[in-house]
Symmetry: C2
Subunit: 193 residues, 2 copies
């Protein structure tokens, strides 16, 4: 019983470190966040942090793995629309709503890859690559199930437009880019007809 | 004569600091580059650096202003194609060529905005916003001159696809995204017909 409680508490501590690191990395990026800050935010000692994670890089990799899981579970719950047009409407209106939240800072995986662009061997890249590929494969599945022509091509185009829209909204602070992306995607859906 | 020489030399020093800072910021991002490193790279004293720029933030703003000018001049020289399809081919094949260079790290303005996403008041955002708007306006001008239908809409869509392609190539290291973006853009051009 006592051992189980300790194990549970160690898992809870680890998760609290992961959540704290995520919140800080997501808000300020990787380079501007120190291990001291993460430990303080999670209310653990640095020693405890290093017990669970060997280095800040290891911690980032673990944060991204967990976030990829959570993000993908969230995404899969999202759209169950029947027609390709409806799928696109749900997708881009969700995007616009997200981008309209106060403190919107864009896509976490994209931002970490941009920040660490000169370090292509960093584990962050592999996790981001897998995540984006999984999302694109999920788009393709949705479009296939909805009977769209060329679902893989369409999925890739939607991935491009989603990525472009998030970036352009972050830069311009103009959510009109989500509507422009939706219109473009709808045109691309109709191409096959 | 002596005063003129000194002025010339001060301008040359300032430019050398700007070029050095650009190279380091572009490669490693803003947060991981220190003022000491920039001064050493430019072979000037820190005192000389602070004579020309009040702070690292000021230096970044000046770097971005200069780069926006240079990038825009480079872009305007680029494509003089006559038909909308040809414009797109030049644009996206240039993109693919750029993305294929060793050490490709993506778009500098986008990366700096992503890195400083939680600081929307930072001057970097305003320069990036102006730059992206100028590029989009230039696309619109090219498409208008080439007789494309709805040149402003098309320009916005191309901006989305370019931004998406650069990001997706950076993440996936798969230049197929440039071709996918080109195909999508060509479909969008034909919509108006």
């Amino acid at each position: 019983m006592r051992v189980w409680r300790m194990a549970r508490s160690a898992a809870a501590t680890k998760r609290r470190i992961l959540d704290s690191a995520y919140e800080l990395f997501y808000r300020k990026g990787y380079s501007r966040v120190g291990v001291d800050e993460i430990a303080a935010f999670a209310a653990v000692t640095k020693r405890s942090l290093y017990y669970h994670f060997r280095s800040k890089d290891d911690l980032l990799a673990a944060v991204l793995e967990l976030q990829a899981e959570l993000a993908f579970a969230r995404i899969r719950r999202q759209s169950l629309a029947a027609r390709p047009d409806e799928i696109l409407e749900v997708l881009f209106s969700e995007l616009a709503r997200w981008a309209g939240r106060p403190g919107f800072v864009g896509a976490g995986f994209t931002r970490i890859v941009m920040e660490l662009a000169d370090l292509p061997g960093h584990p962050a890249h592999a996790v981001a690559r897998r995540h984006k590929a999984a999302v694109e494969a999920w788009y393709a599945e949705l479009f296939r199930n909805a009977g769209a022509a060329a679902p893989d091509t369409l999925a890739r185009e939607v991935a491009l437009l989603v990525e472009g829209a998030v970036t352009m909204i972050l830069i311009s602070r103009d959510r009109g880019y989500a509507e422009a992306a939706l219109r473009a995607a709808k045109t691309l859906v109709r191409r096959g007809r």
